[in-house]
């Protein structure tokens, strides 16, 4: 049986019995959820990915403490929350406006961020890539631009529109993506 066909509880039991390589399957199943969770809170994806690795390492070391009837994703996010707060504290001295603002938002909206993440089961997250591909061209460009490091004012110039309109377009794109993801998870 391939690792991706094994249920999570069995996987965790076998990992604890010494089949450590199976942990990479656990990582594979949860990485999009976790990277997305961290990438939402940190500006630089590279930093989010570094923290994601730290979270998986911590979870690996503490695996024995995870209750088998619990939600593994929620447990990972709990570790991640702690790592994010530690990260923000370590950056406090040289943090920019934006980073200080983000740190405060993450602290205040902790429960809402967790609630939003809880709604995203694995299939729904994977469907997001497909949903992005179905966006109208202009919205796709807006969604992609942040990833390419293009600033909003530069994007507004490129699309011959205004900065507020870019945020409006992104918001519209997000609405369509949510609808598409929900349809997919119900079909």
């Amino acid at each position: 049986m391939n690792a991706h066909q094994i249920d999570l509880t069995t996987l965790l039991d076998r990992i604890e019995r010494g089949e450590t390589d199976l942990y990479m399957e656990v990582v594979r199943r949860h990485e999009l959820m976790l990277r997305g969770y961290l990438a939402g809170q940190l500006y630089h994806l590279a930093e989010a990915d570094d923290l994601a690795q730290e979270v998986f390492l911590t979870a690996w070391r503490d695996l024995v403490n995870f209750r088998r009837d619990g939600d593994f994703g929620e447990w990972l996010r709990g570790i991640a929350r702690h790592q994010v707060l530690t990260y923000f504290r370590s950056q406090q001295r040289r943090a920019s406006f934006m980073e200080r603002f983000r740190a405060e938002v993450v602290r205040i909206a902790e429960q809402e961020l967790e609630a939003a993440a809880r709604r995203d089961e694995a299939g729904r997250v994977e469907r997001l890539l497909h949903c992005i591909s179905r966006l109208p061209k202009k919205l796709r460009r807006v969604v992609r631009a942040g990833l390419d490091g293009v600033r909003t004012d530069a994007l507004a110039e490129e699309l011959q529109t205004t900065v507020p309109a870019i945020y409006q377009l992104h918001y519209r794109a997000n609405q369509l993506l949510r609808e598409c993801m929900t349809k997919g998870s119900h079909s």
Partner: protein, 342 residues
Amino acid sequence: MNPDLQTFLRAWSGDSDICDTECGRLLQRLENDAAFRTECGEEIRLLGLIKAVQTPSPRWLDLRDALGLSSATPPEPEADDLARRVFHLVRNEPRKPANARWLTWRPLTAAAAGIVFGMFCTSMVFGFVVQSGVEGKTPLAVFQPSFEDAQMPITKGYPYALAHWGGDDARVVSAENGIRAKDGTFMLRLEAAPKGSPRFVYQVLDLASVPSSAKSEMREIEISASFAAVDAGASARYMLRAFAVSEAHEHLDASLFDHRGEAIASATKGLDVVPGSNGWKTVSLKIQVPPAARCLVLFFGVRTPNKTLPKAAHYLDDVQVSLIEPQPLNGLTLRTAARVGG
């Protein structure tokens, strides 16, 4: 769209002008308005997911080290993973194991992904299927790209002017510890740092040197550099970062680090090197530079994630920066062809 949500998203994305006047009020509303908190939480969550699903997975080198999997076949290259994810969606089948052979199915993957998803990932698909060499490259002047001046001073911290290197502990050396310069006689040694902290060297490029014919539109610039390590017994991450800024070089200083989120464009690329890898490793990245950019700030760095291993020096050589110029392709430029795909 709720105006406060829009303002919130602007501040969240790093618009410091907004933050100067609005961040305090937004935080207060966030504290007191549960519906607003939920709305912001949903947007933040989706923005994060959008980033995660559109980028390749990390290679989890530290984790693989901890699991004792270092000697196993390392995961496939970054782009492969993204293509695999797209291909997986095309076929609606379970993912392939991480060590699938990339070279055997890369063209098929690229073609299938391109056909089904059209414009969304067109640039990526072109990256796979178009032979290198279709793009023209015009080298841009880099100060001491191969560190051939053994007496070259290196500013501690941020370089105070153009035509300088600045950075953490670094010095120009000739061949040593079994490492020979990749290009010429000399190379730059990045001294070991405690606790695996990253070490960077920086250079500022004045974009006035970019050929004038290309100034009126978005320019694509490629940066590459080669790294080597004395002790390949530990994993390392080599990093390139580029920030395009609209300020003139004389107005840039170390505070750039605090305001790097305000760069008008930025790009980062990392290369994870597994223990046992020898020789020079070349990292390259491309950045789309808007017309308003006046300077490009380049960071070249290394990080050794395993904090428990003895620290060793790393070397940098053969830094290259080029302007990418699309060449005509059946009457269309390559960039135009990519847009037509959508």
